[in-house]
């Protein structure tokens, strides 16, 4: 008799809130951590600033951040297969970004990617 009552009653707002919070918890967590990280961002330098030999990089920063690998791959193809030795090379990268431990490795470690350039190419 009693259990039938419960089934017939509509669930209260408090009961409904429990599964909704459980579902929203990871979403809220990521929003809070993102907001927290935004505040912290200004204080800490993740990458070492380049020892500027050139005042500007070969492409703008936003392009290099996402597409440096495309650029390097295209240049590699141009040099090795078509003999177009232009101004872009891994050696020129090293003139400003002097240390691979402090530059390349930082991001590549963070996303656990291992570029295999340095097995053959010299980069200090």
């Amino acid at each position: 008799m009693r259990s039938k009552d419960i089934l017939n009653n509509k669930p209260s707002a408090a009961v409904a809130a429990i599964p909704i919070t459980i579902i929203l918890l990871p979403v809220l967590y990521s929003i809070f951590t993102f907001a927290f990280a935004q505040e912290k961002k200004g204080t800490e330098q993740f990458l070492e600033m380049p020892d500027a030999v050139y005042t500007k990089c070969v492409r703008d920063t936003e392009y290099m951040r996402h597409n440096h690998w495309v650029l390097l791959r295209v240049v590699r193809e141009d040099v090795v297969r078509y003999g177009k030795r232009g101004e872009i090379s891994l050696k020129r990268c090293g003139e400003c970004h002097t240390s691979r431990e402090k530059f390349c490795k930082k991001c590549h470690d963070a996303v656990s990617m291992k570029p295999d350039c340095y097995g053959c190419h010299y980069y200090p």
Binding site: V74, R76, Y82, G83, C120, Y122
Partner: protein, 246 residues
């Protein structure tokens, strides 16, 4: 519409759509990459002449220069040694008299390279200017090219080279096949290969490199005028390394 028609229309639409998108991206230039057509190498054909009468028997200037320039893995151990250029002794016997000769051997940069024909990933290929190059980024180390090469000019990297003699140039990590690339990096900049430079500085200038298509070059003149020989010409690989006095 029956089942057969549905597949025809659906397949056709997908094919047209994907190829159309690819064509648009290719034409508008959002897929980067070069083609053979805009290569600066077209029209040239690099060849080499080795004058064995000038080659001094115990001189190793070219070998040392090559090992230094290209970071060739030379461990002083014949199991792992890599030679881009090497010196051997040939003995020819006619009747009772025998003559010995020391001969320089290297990649012959064939016009029809068997190594490039067998390479399953097109890592070995002939550049537009006739130099046969290994793209070590692509090489998977299958060693077909070593079997195909009739001159035994190819070597495999069984062991990494630890020291780095010339930091301007890359070395090879273990697991790739390699051979002489006629110092393509120097030739592109208008310089002479390391062995040629060393031979003219230290030795007698026995090795010469030049453009065979340019009839004014020293190499083209020698090939036209003198009795030059190539190695294993009967195989039809058309090597571009010519020997004087072989």
């Amino acid at each position: 519409m029956d089942r057969r028609d549905f597949f025809k229309i659906a397949g056709g639409t997908i094919l047209a759509g994907t190829s159309g998108v690819y064509a648009i991206r290719r034409l508008t230039g959002s897929i980067p990459g070069s083609t053979v057509a805009d290569s600066p190498l077209t029209g040239k054909k690099w060849g080499m002449v080795i004058d064995l009468s000038k080659c001094v028997e115990d001189c190793t200037a070219c070998l040392d220069a090559c090992r230094y320039e290209n970071n060739v893995a030379f461990h002083q151990d014949e199991r792992w040694d890599v030679h881009w250029i090497r010196k051997i002794r040939l003995e020819s016997k006619i009747g009772t008299t025998s003559t010995e000769k020391s001969v320089i051997l290297l990649c012959n940069h064939c016009e029809k390279p068997p190594c490039a024909q067998v390479c399953p990933v097109q890592a070995t290929y002939k550049r537009e200017d006739g130099i046969v190059v290994v793209d070590h980024h692509r090489c998977i180390g299958c060693r077909y090219c070593m079997i195909a090469c009739p001159y035994n000019a190819r070597y495999f990297n069984f062991k990494d080279k630890e020291d780095w003699s010339n930091t301007d140039r890359p070395k090879r990590s273990h697991g790739v096949a390699e051979a002489c690339n006629l110092c393509a990096h120097r030739i592109d900049l208008g310089e002479l290969p390391a062995c040629v430079e060393a031979c003219s500085n230290v030795g007698e200038g026995a090795i010469m490199v030049g453009d065979m298509n340019d009839s004014g070059s020293e190499v083209a003149k020698i090939i036209m005028a003198e009795a030059v020989k190539r190695l294993k010409e009967d195989l039809g690989t058309e090597p571009k390394v010519y020997y004087l006095g072989l």
